[in-house]
Amino acid sequence: MIELERAAYSYGGGELFTDVTLTLAPGSFHFLTGPSGAGKTTLLKLCYGELIATAGHVRLFGENTRKMDRDRIAMNRRRIGVVHQDCQFLDHLPISENVALPLTVAGRSEEADAYLGELLAWVGLTRQAQQLPPELSGGERQRAALARAIILSPDVILADEPTGNIDWEMSQRLLSLLVELNKLGKTVLVATHDMALIRAAKAQISARVLRLKDRKIQAAEVDL
């Protein structure tokens, strides 16, 4: 699905991380952890082509991101659902239209009627469908972002600190949705520094934990 081969990323003369080799196999569940500023978000951005590695290679579905033009990257993003900590919505559109945005962009807006109701019910946002994003709580926004990320039934789901702004109960609910998606065969990578969330996930599924520290990536099983 997504492969990083000796990938590095530098900016402003400094190297954020180097020599990162990682393969997200189909159906796998990974956590990416590490201290703030270690480069978790940057590494995720490499995984969906928003940034290009300054050294090494990143392959999305077998294609090297360095050789892709912007249209090709856009097409590949339709196979990757992304959930950010700050969600990033179009604040002037209701939640239903925000969630359906990937379908609209893909020219499949007529399919929204078939999927949207079921999807909003699955994330528990049926009542909030016509509300604007700023009117929703942090947890509701995260669930809406997850619904938007999966409406195209992507192969991979990348979540960047998805529980950063929500309470523990809501974190558990969001985690259970991600676990459910993984059980449906989706590849999941979650960047988080919430160890309790990782332990809760490992109780339910086989998840691999990676730690980004001192500019390197390493397996972190022993810490848990």
């Binding site: 912007r70 249209d71 990033q88 179009l90 559109l93 945005l101 962009v105």
Partner: protein, 303 residues
């Protein structure tokens, strides 16, 4: 990208879809700026076109009318002038290329001088030269030969074939027409610059929209399309309003008959109205090209 693909992508860009357009929130400032600029520029373009087309008509009229006529001026002492006029007419009647010749009456000469000396000028009592109007055939006459004959038979005759003053006037009118079209091009350029600035402001104000659209897999052409369609429609609407207002103003212009009709018929006539109908289309094309270039440039920087 081939020409066909380029045309196809441009058509798709204009056709777009309503859902995509909804992704970009309406921005009041850039909307008003684009509509106002397009309306103002279209208003100016109509007046420039009217002046330019009038200049063209004047140039054509002078070319057509004056090229086929010339004037013979007879200056002679009292008592000889009528004889010289008759002699000149005889010469002209036998000159190949002269379709007709006639001496202007006192009333006609008085009317010619009236703008400078008033209507009550006693033409009969003043030593004013007599004028003979010559109409030429399509082939024209031999000017050198006619001058030679007149010099021999009518010593007081001076032939004016209008070439001396017609050429610079026609040239001036043609330059006026060229300047008019240059002004239209400048107006189109200024419109493009203003719309580019407005589009860039809109794109900068919608950085979050661009980020979200990219995140969910939108191609640059899709994102640009939402902006391009909006600005193209605004330019079309604004320029249509501008053309309508200025069209009415031109239509209501008073008939001017100044300086012997030099400015007569200023405005638009007949098929010339089609020129101003093309202005909203031209404005839309300019807006389309300017916004598309600005959008793709900005999106390129965002990558």
């Amino acid at each position: 990208m081939s020409l066909r693909e380029r045309i196809g992508s441009s058509v798709a860009l204009l056709a777009g879809d309503k859902q995509a357009d909804r992704a970009v929130p309406p921005t009041g400032f850039t909307a008003r700026l684009t509509v106002f600029t397009s309306a103002a520029m279209a208003f100016l373009a109509v007046f420039v076109l009217a002046l330019s087309l009038t200049a063209g008509r004047v140039a054509d009229r002078w070319t057509e009318q004056l090229a086929q006529t010339s004037t013979l001026r007879i200056s002679a002492p009292d008592g000889q002038i009528d004889a010289q006029v008759r002699a000149a007419l005889r010469v002209l009647e036998t000159t190949p290329g002269v379709a007709g010749a006639r001496a202007l009456s006192d009333e006609e000469q008085r009317a010619l001088l009236a703008p400078w000396f008033g209507p009550d000028l006693p033409v009969e009592s003043l030593p004013i030269p007599r004028l003979i109007e010559i109409t030429e055939t399509d082939g024209g006459y031999d000017t050198t030969g006619l001058r030679a004959r007149l010099q021999a038979e009518v010593p007081g005759a001076l032939l004016d074939d209008h070439a001396r003053w017609r050429a610079p006037l026609v040239k001036a009118a043609e330059r006026l027409r060229a300047l008019g079209f240059a002004a239209v091009i400048l107006i189109a350029g200024a419109t493009a610059a203003m719309i580019t600035l407005a589009a860039q402001a809109a794109l900068a104000a919608n950085a979050q929209v661009i980020r979200v659209m990219r995140l969910v897999g939108a191609k640059d052409s899709y994102i640009a399309g939402a902006f391009v369609r909006r600005f193209t429609l605004r330019a079309f609407f604004g320029s249509t309003v501008g053309v309508a207002v200025s069209g009415v103003a031109v239509w209501l212009l008073p008939e001017l008959d100044v300086a012997g009709g030099i400015l007569e018929g200023i405005g638009l006539s007949g098929a010339e109205w089609l020129w101003i109908a093309a202005i909203p289309i031209l404005a839309s094309v300019v807006a389309f090209a300017a916004t598309r270039a600005a959008a793709l440039r900005t999106l390129g920087r965002h990558s």
